[in-house]
């Protein structure tokens, strides 16, 4: 582990939903845990939108707050949380890199070491998102294009799920927000490179974070966190992060499945709407 000479103790594992975030967390778990992964006990440090951590440090019931109020307080909660840490924390986040009502970033940049931004071909996200959300391909397609897309959205101003509402935005805006706005270093890791060139890709991420790991340790962690390993664990023991409605969290893990899943109209529309970012990351 690198020395912690300052308060920059958080590494954000940021992504649009269904882009490989859990896979990356499984890899980090294996790396920090002598090559072992238990999918229901990932060794990374939770999700930004977790209500429990907020309630612990804010000392009030966040269910008594509106989501708007939570968003105005959450950066300070994590700022304080960072002061309590004696090691780097890896925190998953799907929220868009956005500001609260007062114009302040909801992500506390001053206590951030860096972010790993995991990006995946939006055409492949559609099917995965449909499976995860137990919705149609068309509905998932619309989520990727919807500037108001949120996770854990709660009807009628409710704010009481285990996770806070996460404003995600559309796919291009999410990528742009996390790659252009932060004042801390961000590395973009392509899901497809994790799949086709795992050793080089994971080594790049490990080096960027500043973790010390030998090539053998990285290779062992890649093997332990392979799709087959994670999927077979889910079949055997279940996965607590699977949504209630979806059949299986780890679905196919492949790239290019969009060719069988999307119709021509959906493919063209996605390419057109997200052309700039898709081109930038070699998806076109």
């Amino acid at each position: 582990m690198p020395d912690l000479i300052n308060s920059e103790k958080i590494v954000w594992l940021a992504s649009f939903p269904k882009s490989g975030n859990t896979w990356f967390r499984a890899f980090l778990t294996a790396l920090m845990n002598n090559g072992k992964v238990e999918i229901n006990a990932l060794k990374t440090d939770g999700i930004f939108s977790d209500r429990t951590l907020f309630d612990l440090y804010a000392e009030i019931e966040s269910r008594d707050l509106t989501d708007r109020e939570v968003k105005m307080m959450i950066a300070d909660v994590y700022r304080f949380y960072a002061t309590q840490l004696n090691k780097l924390n890896f925190i998953k986040v799907h929220d868009a890199f956005e500001t609260d009502e007062a114009g302040l970033s909801i992500i506390p940049e001053d206590v951030t070491r860096c972010a790993i931004y995991i990006i995946r071909n939006p055409l492949d996200i559609v099917g995965s998102l449909a499976n995860h959300s137990a919705c149609s391909i068309q509905d998932a397609f619309e989520m990727l294009n919807n500037h108001n897309y949120s996770l854990a959205k709660q009807q009628g101003n409710l704010n009481r799920n285990a996770q806070f509402r996460q404003y995600v935005s559309d796919w291009s805006s999410h990528v742009k927000g996390w790659t252009l706005k932060p004042s801390f270093p961000v590395i973009v890791i392509r899901y497809e490179d994790m799949l086709t060139n795992p050793f080089e890709t994971f080594t790049k991420a490990v080096t960027f974070i500043g973790l010390e790991a030998t090539p053998d340790q990285i290779s062992a962690a890649i093997r332990a966190s392979s799709f087959e390993q994670l999927s077979s664990q889910e079949i055997e023991k279940g996965f607590q992060e699977k949504t209630r409605k979806s059949k299986q969290f780890f679905r196919s893990g492949k790239m290019g499945v969009w060719k069988e899943e999307l119709n021509q109209e959906q493919i063209s529309a996605l390419r057109e709407k997200h052309e700039e970012i898709m081109r930038l990351y070699n998806y076109l």
Partner: protein, 301 residues
């Protein structure tokens, strides 16, 4: 000034509290006033947290855009509301975290639990917010039980002559989300009193049947939603597990600073786990309702 009973205490307040039980008394235990709160606790021995400062006998909490609160020596609360803020918001946080701070300063143990009463004995439902305590309590009120307390129960140890553990209610109001009211029998609960203007959560008053006495605790259920559960399971915990689980159920236990207070709680929880059976209910994170919970526990009730 207004005079009330709440959490087992006589409260003299500059703020009107429709939630608390009006009561005449000679001497107050706690005063509540509107005023200027100190910038920090008096001594230098305090802990600073994101929105609070805490010392053994002082607590300052600042809820941005709502109110800044000061609680001291288990007997004094000052509220400094943000201009224009509604009264309900001021009262809601005061009746939660701030009263917990007062109770801890007095050496009490407020348990994060709802309670129902039958034949003069209490069944407690502990668990974090969102576990389903209030809705289950409301459901039991239509099944032969009386609501005793919502959200917080103040624990007391028994004596040699009166063994066991006893409990005092917080105040005669139960809070239900909009959809819980729909789920429960519609005639009993209303949407007349929003606990905060922007929240679809409603206070239900039960002044008529309210019991402000200390009643013995007969059994405790700890409700524990988990992402891994597919079913509702109820298991009886052994003494050690009961102790460990109940320790986590102290309301806002991050406000407990002193070793002395921990020792008092240790003694009380030891007594509790010796005298009272404790059951753990694990249930799926989403997709269960209070009727299913009731069905799962009715053999143990």
């Amino acid at each position: 000034m207004f005079r009330y009973w709440g959490f087992g205490l006589n409260i003299l307040s500059q703020i009107e509290f429709p939630e608390l039980l009006p009561k005449e008394f000679d001497k107050e235990d706690v005063t509540i006033e509107i005023g200027i709160t100190p910038l920090k606790p008096e001594g230098d021995d305090f802990v600073k947290r994101p929105f609070s400062c805490i010392a053994e006998k002082e607590y300052i909490l600042n809820i941005r855009n709502v109110c800044r609160y000061y609680a001291a020596n288990g007997s004094k609360i000052i509220a400094e509301p943000v201009p224009g803020i509604d009264q309900r918001s001021i009262r809601l946080f005061l009746l939660g975290t701030i009263m917990a701070a007062i109770l801890y300063q007095r050496g009490s143990l407020p348990l994060h639990a709802a309670a129902v009463e039958k034949n003069g004995k209490l069944t407690l439902f502990a668990g974090k917010s969102g576990a389903g305590k209030s809705t289950l309590t409301a459901l039991l009120a239509s099944n032969g039980y009386s609501v005793f307390s919502d959200d917080i129960c103040v624990m007391h140890s028994g004596t040699k002559d009166k063994p066991g553990v006893y409990c005092t209610a917080s105040y005669p109001m139960i809070k239900l989300w909009d959809d819980a009211i729909t789920q429960l029998d519609g005639d009993l609960y209303t949407r007349d009193y929003k606990i905060r203007p922007e929240l679809p959560k409603y206070g239900q008053f039960f002044f008529e049947n309210f019991n402000s006495g200390q009643l013995p605790v007969e059994k405790i259920f700890i409700i524990h939603p988990t992402g891994l559960s597919h079913n509702i399971d109820v298991i009886k915990l052994n003494t050690l597990k009961s102790f460990r689980q109940l320790e986590q159920q102290a309301y806002k236990n991050q406000l407990i600073l002193s070793k002395k207070l921990r020792a008092v709680h240790f003694a009380l929880l030891s007594q509790l786990t010796q005298h009272v059976p404790v059951y753990e209910i694990t249930r799926p994170q989403v997709g269960t309702n209070s009727a299913q919970l009731f069905e799962a526990i009715k053999n143990q009730l």
